[in-house]
């Protein structure tokens, strides 16, 4: 796969639930270039989490084409081409931090020596050296998410999918982890698709912000973020940052900010239909 081919390519992707009654995604066309950090932002129920799962072959689209890493999404999943991070760190209490991180490596059949080496690398990457022997409950929420990110990167996937990973954390931890994520992104060279509710976070992190409309979810706009890298806390105070935030907010308003309160919650739909 050449460097210019997109890591993720979506063509006319549509997803309906409840036998066609509910359209979560409508004709989504999107390319994600290698090394990009793309955010998906939109009002609740706009389908952004569903879209992320379509990319990861955790939800099958009703129609359309999904190509990940040059393959069909299912093949990409089976080949371990992406790592995923959820809002809930999903760490297993009965495993230490180190063993949590090495779980995908165990499943891939790596040798113990190789796993240990890689886990040490990753702990250094997410700045949790020395915590390998701890258990998840001994860590703060922010630290747990860092473990979750380390795990997602353990097998060096080309793509990282993140579903509001910092949504459950407080503002300050969030901003700190945003900076961490940028550092990790640079160090690992992965491509990231990042779902978020927070406009500031989207603008701070991304190369491009994909703004989605309310249900049925369409791409309302794509805002190019031309802030220079590397970005840091100062970036958040630059005038251009605020301009971009305003631009994204305006696009969101155009796409319809209001939540559709009478319809089932996106999460409920995903659980009810069952994952493949």
């Amino acid at each position: 796969m050449s460097a210019s081919e997109p890591v993720v390519s979506l063509r006319e992707v549509t997803k309906t639930f409840q036998a066609g009654d509910l359209t979560a995604l409508q004709s989504i066309d999107l390319d994600v270039r290698p090394g990009e950090l793309v955010s998906l932002i939109g009002p609740s129920g706009c389908g952004k989490s569903t879209l992320l799962r379509v990319i990861g072959d955790l939800v099958e689209p009703s129609s359309g084409e999904v190509v990940v890493n040059g393959k069909r999404a299912r093949q990409a999943r089976q080949d371990g081409d992406y790592g995923i991070v959820f809002q809930d760190p999903v760490l297993y209490d009965w495993r230490t931090v180190a063993k949590n991180i090495s779980l995908p490596l165990e499943l891939l059949g790596w040798s113990k020596a190789r796993r240990t080496e890689r886990v040490d690398e990753l702990l250094a990457l997410v700045e949790l050296q020395g915590f390998g022997g701890h258990h998840p409950w001994q860590l703060s929420g922010g630290m747990q998410q860092r473990v979750s990110i380390a795990r997602a990167l353990s097998f060096s996937p080309a793509l990282l999918l993140m579903d509001e990973p910092f949504g459950a954390l407080d503002e300050m931890t969030r901003e700190r982890l945003n900076a961490e994520l940028l550092r990790i992104w640079e160090a690992s060279g992965s491509t990231i698709v990042f779902v978020t509710h927070s406009i500031a976070e989207a603008v701070f992190l991304s190369s491009r912000v994909v703004v989605m409309s309310r249900r049925p979810g369409r791409i309302a706009a794509i805002v190019e973020i031309d802030l220079p890298q590397p970005r840091n806390a100062d970036t958040r105070e630059e005038p251009h940052f605020f301009e971009l935030v305003t631009a994204v907010r305006d696009r969101l308003r155009e796409g319809g900010l209001d939540e559709d309160r009478t319809a089932p919650d996106e999460g409920e739909l995903l659980v009810g239909e069952g994952t493949p």
Partner: protein, 299 residues
């Protein structure tokens, strides 16, 4: 869908969808019943044909009667010129139900009170909880004769015969209620407690307006266990008390005549099973009515 999580919340489905699912559930229930019956008859047929033996056990009409025979015997007299078996067992079941119901109420009230008292003090919990748990290891049947001798003379005339049985039923009932009342009352969100305190609500008010509604799902879970347990307690309690009029007595009676009429004992078991299930269903129904009124979301 393997292991799929539970279906979407009922409230979000249309009512036609709801009736469709209810019909499917009922169909499934009946289908399993039919499968179980077929499996029984199949096992019986195969066992008799192959002469299957496990130790002393062999398959024949005495050890594994036909299910339709078990149901059929209910509609025959239990002795020459006597009433139908189902009439006899119905009376026995009512008698046992009476003992069980009284025992259930006693046990539940006691369990609730005990749980409420313990909920107020961690010290009391650490001191007494091990013994409350240990109380269930005392073989109640062995202690039953003593209970009968001690309780019955102290009861008013009408209760003299069976009062002790209710005590035994209460013994099997109070434990799950105590444990779950305790868990429920102490499961309150600390922030809700703080809110109550900001209203300067006294601890009595807090108990009734906050802790008890929060504990209701737990308490009902316990009552669903305790109700059938009270039936078990009543049946067991009748045995040493030599009570003839209840299901325990019927079991002993038909056990004696098992060789000649095995289906009668099976039928008695069937009625006892139905009694236990009906107690369970009563609590289930009560839960549906009560907990829906409570503002808490059932965990």
């Amino acid at each position: 869908m393997a292991y799929a999580a539970s279906a979407p919340a009922r409230s979000s489905l249309r009512s036609s969808e709801r009736t469709r699912r209810a019909a499917l559930d009922l169909g499934l229930f009946l289908a399993v019943l039919a499968v179980l019956w077929a499996a029984w008859e199949a096992f019986k047929a195969i066992g008799e044909a192959t002469g299957l033996r496990v130790g002393q056990f062999e398959v024949n009409d005495r050890t594994l009667p036909h299910l339709h025979d078990v149901v059929g015997i209910l509609f025959e007299p239990s002795r020459r010129n006597g009433p139908l078996l189902i009439g006899v067992l119905w009376d026995a079941a009512l008698f046992t139900a009476k003992e069980a119901a009284v025992g259930f109420v006693l046990g539940a009230l006691f369990g609730f009170a005990l749980g409420a008292v313990l909920a107020h003090s961690g010290l009391l919990q650490r001191g007494f909880l091990p013994y409350i748990v240990a109380s269930q290891t005392i073989p109640i049947l062995a202690v039953a004769p003593m209970v009968v001798v001690w309780v019955n003379p102290r009861l008013p005339e009408g209760l003299k015969d069976w009062g002790a049985v209710s005590v035994i039923a209460a013994y099997l009932t109070f434990f799950p209620v105590t444990i779950n009342t305790l868990r429920g009352l102490t499961s309150v969100d600390p922030r809700a407690l703080e809110l109550m305190r900001s209203y300067a609500a006294g601890s009595w008010r807090v108990l009734w307006k906050l802790r008890v509604p929060a504990a209701l799902p737990f308490i009902f879970a316990a009552l669903k266990i305790a109700a059938p347990a009270s039936v078990v307690g009543a049946i067991i309690g009748e045995l040493p008390a030599s009570i003839q009029s209840g299901l325990g007595g019927a079991i002993l009676n038909f056990n004696q005549y098992y060789i000649s009429a095995p289906t009668r004992l099976w039928a008695t078991n069937l009625i006892a099973a139905l009694l236990g299930i009906s107690f369970f269903l009563v609590v289930l129904l009560a839960e549906r009515l009560v907990v829906r009124r409570a503002p808490e979301h059932v965990a």
